[in-house]
């Protein structure tokens, strides 16, 4: 491989700085002792203490994690079923439309999704709150879960299940005994991705929430209206930590599966 030129190095550096410098600044200032966000007053973890003892923030975090966990579970189950249909049954009437509709929410404007879901909940007369946020999150993260599952299912040798049937398993047992264990990493990966997406969502949550049900991003956003405090930096850094953990874990979990499918 040729050595990168100084131009390559510079553009990589500039690109990475553009992407991550604001985050670095955020993290650094979350350890700022000063009350003023932009003035460095020495190292301190006081804002973390302040954040986790802030009742409203903790309440928001609880809702966020609960919503993320439940919606990610729903999304993974539904997404897996959709992926199985798309990969295994493949050539049914309207499969192109089905595949398109499966991934469309990925590029659909969040505002549009938010409004449409709000309208639906109002029309159906469902009281808005954590439940509606959860349903909305499950809906928009499902497509991501489906895509993750789909890519794993495509790699999974269909003769594995045939082999299980050949050795005496009825079709459903063959699926449970052979396909499911081999999809496990993808399940975890899809769940973590959905969880992460749900955790940091602001737009759709705002549309589908009701009184008393504010997620963490909503709490942060409303605090920002009164000015950025170092406390917000601290909470954001914590969320960042959770998200990075989720993404890294999802990658680590899905990696061995790629290796074993190559070997098969």
């Amino acid at each position: 491989m040729p050595k990168p030129s100084w131009f390559n190095r510079l553009s990589i550096f500039a690109g990475l700085a553009f992407l991550y410098l604001p985050i670095v600044v955020l993290v650094v200032y979350s350890f700022n002792a000063s009350r003023l966000v932009t003035v460095w007053g020495g190292f301190s973890t006081q804002w973390y203490t302040a954040a986790i003892s802030n009742q409203s923030i903790v309440e928001g975090a609880k809702i966020s994690f609960l919503v993320a966990a439940i919606s990610a579970t729903l999304a993974t189950v539904l997404g897996s079923l959709a992926a199985i249909v798309a990969v295994r049954i493949r050539r049914f009437r309207g499969h192109h439309v089905f595949n398109g509709m499966l991934v469309a929410p990925m590029v659909m404007p969040e505002v549009v999704m938010g409004v449409s879901m709000l309208l639906m909940f109002v029309t159906l007369g469902i009281d808005r709150g954590p439940v509606t946020i959860t349903l909305a999150h499950a809906t928009f993260t499902m497509c991501f879960a489906a895509v993750v599952m789909q890519s794993r299912l495509v790699e999974l040798d269909p003769s594995l299940e045939e082999a299980a049937r050949d050795l005496g398993c009825p079709p459903f047992v063959a699926f449970m005994k052979v396909a499911v264990p081999n999809m496990l990493p993808a399940f975890v990966s899809a769940w973590l991705l959905s969880f992460t997406l749900s955790l940091d969502d602001l737009v759709i949550s705002s549309f589908t929430t009701g009184p008393g049900a504010s997620t963490l991003p909503m709490k942060i956003y409303s605090q920002i209206k009164f000015g950025v405090t170092p406390e917000v930096n601290a909470i954001s850094t914590l969320i960042l930590g959770v998200v990075v953990f989720g993404l890294v874990a999802s990658r680590i979990v899905s990696r061995p599966s790629a290796k074993s499918s190559l070997a098969v």
Partner: protein, 355 residues
């Protein structure tokens, strides 16, 4: 004769495409039977219908006298070795082999006994705790075989079982398969596109093309007496010339062939009419090349050294080509490209083909 595996007028269509077209084959107990043909000829579909993975459009499959056409795969007394081996990546070699026995809810002690027996037979004992990813191609192939054999199926089905192995390992494994099959006395049905493999392992071969069976017979039968030009050329090599006016002397025929540019010889023992269109087929190894004498005159156009033999391509005066193979007996090669040669063969070396 009552066949052990009997395939009766079996057809399978996918939409407008007919993969298997009215195939009937009877396979005896303890046979090593090959389904041979190019890719897309329907041989795999036929095997999958015997295994129960495909439902025939029409026709029937009988195993040991019992009709199994509508019996699902998991209740058939057949086991299959898949082309991709289909080893379960999440289970160890031992658990892979035991999978079918555990599914049948056999006693643990018996499962252990049978797994260790088959592992010993296939030299897998040291690998039982490994995962399939940690095995070489040849080892995986043996695990797949063990997993299918351990259930003691009435019929073992093998779908291109050696396709992923390199040539030396293939040859070795072919002999191993034949040895196992004899030892166990099982009925094997193998699908392959490799004619050499089919000839080496089988007791009988069915040659398939476009969903139909063209010929069934022992390797020697199909090689020596092919029913058509296609079969002759698919099984090894053949020089084929269209025949014309024929003179007979005893059992020998002298056939005028415009294509070959002269008289070619054949034996009359074949029951092929020389009135309509017919062809004379001769294998390259039966063609003799001489610098002078009788025969078809031509010029050596190509030469290739294949170790065990020397392969010559001769451009005949008529413009047709003729392949000749001289077995390498260690003698000095006295022919080279550009030499004029005369090609001839014994009448009994050539066959008449009607198609």
């Amino acid at each position: 004769m009552q066949s052990y595996v009997s395939i009766e007028n079996l057809s399978k269509s996918f939409g407008f495409f007919t993969a298997v077209d009215d195939v009937s084959i009877g396979i005896g107990k303890g046979e090593f039977f090959s389904l041979l043909g190019p890719s897309g000829c329907g041989k795999s579909t036929l095997l999958r219908m015997i295994a129960g993975f495909e439902t025939p459009t029409s026709g029937a499959v009988r195993l040991d006298g019992e009709e199994v056409t509508d019996v699902p795969a998991h209740r058939r007394p057949t086991n299959m070795m898949f082309q991709s081996y289909a080893l379960f990546p999440h289970l160890t070699v031992g658990k892979n082999i035991a999978f079918g026995l555990a599914q049948d809810r056999l006693a643990r002690a018996e499962i252990r006994q049978r797994v260790s027996d088959v592992a010993e037979k296939l030299q897998l004992t040291a690998l039982l705790d490994r995962k399939p990813q940690q095995l070489s191609g040849g080892q995986r192939q043996r695990v797949a075989l063990a997993r299918a054999l351990v259930k003691r199926p009435k019929v073992l089905l093998l779908d291109e079982p050696l396709g992923a192995l390199d040539k030396n390992l293939r040859t070795e494994t072919q002999h191993e398969l034949v040895r196992l099959q004899r030892e166990l006395g099982l009925t094997f049905i193998i699908v392959t596109h490799d004619q050499h493999e089919a000839m080496t392992v089988s007791s009988r071969i069915a040659i398939m093309r476009q969903g139909k069976v063209l010929q069934i017979g022992s390797p020697a039968e199909v090689y020596e007496t092919p029913v058509s030009r296609y079969v002759a050329k698919f099984l090894g090599e053949a020089n084929v010339f269209e025949g014309g006016a024929t003179r007979r002397s005893g059992n020998d025929l002298a056939v005028e062939s415009a294509e070959a540019g002269g008289s070619v010889f054949a034996t009359a023992a074949d029951h092929v009419s020389t009135n309509g269109r017919f062809w004379v087929s001769v294998r390259p190894e039966r063609v003799e090349l001489a610098r002078q004498g009788d025969g078809l005159e031509g010029v050596i156009e190509q030469f290739s050294y294949a170790g065990s033999g020397r392969h010559y391509r001769v451009r005949l005066k008529s413009g047709a080509t003729l392949d000749a193979l001289r077995v390498n007996l260690g003698a000095e090669d006295d022919l080279s490209v550009g030499d004029t040669v005369f090609a001839s063969w014994m009448p009994q070396a050539a066959r008449l083909l009607a198609d």
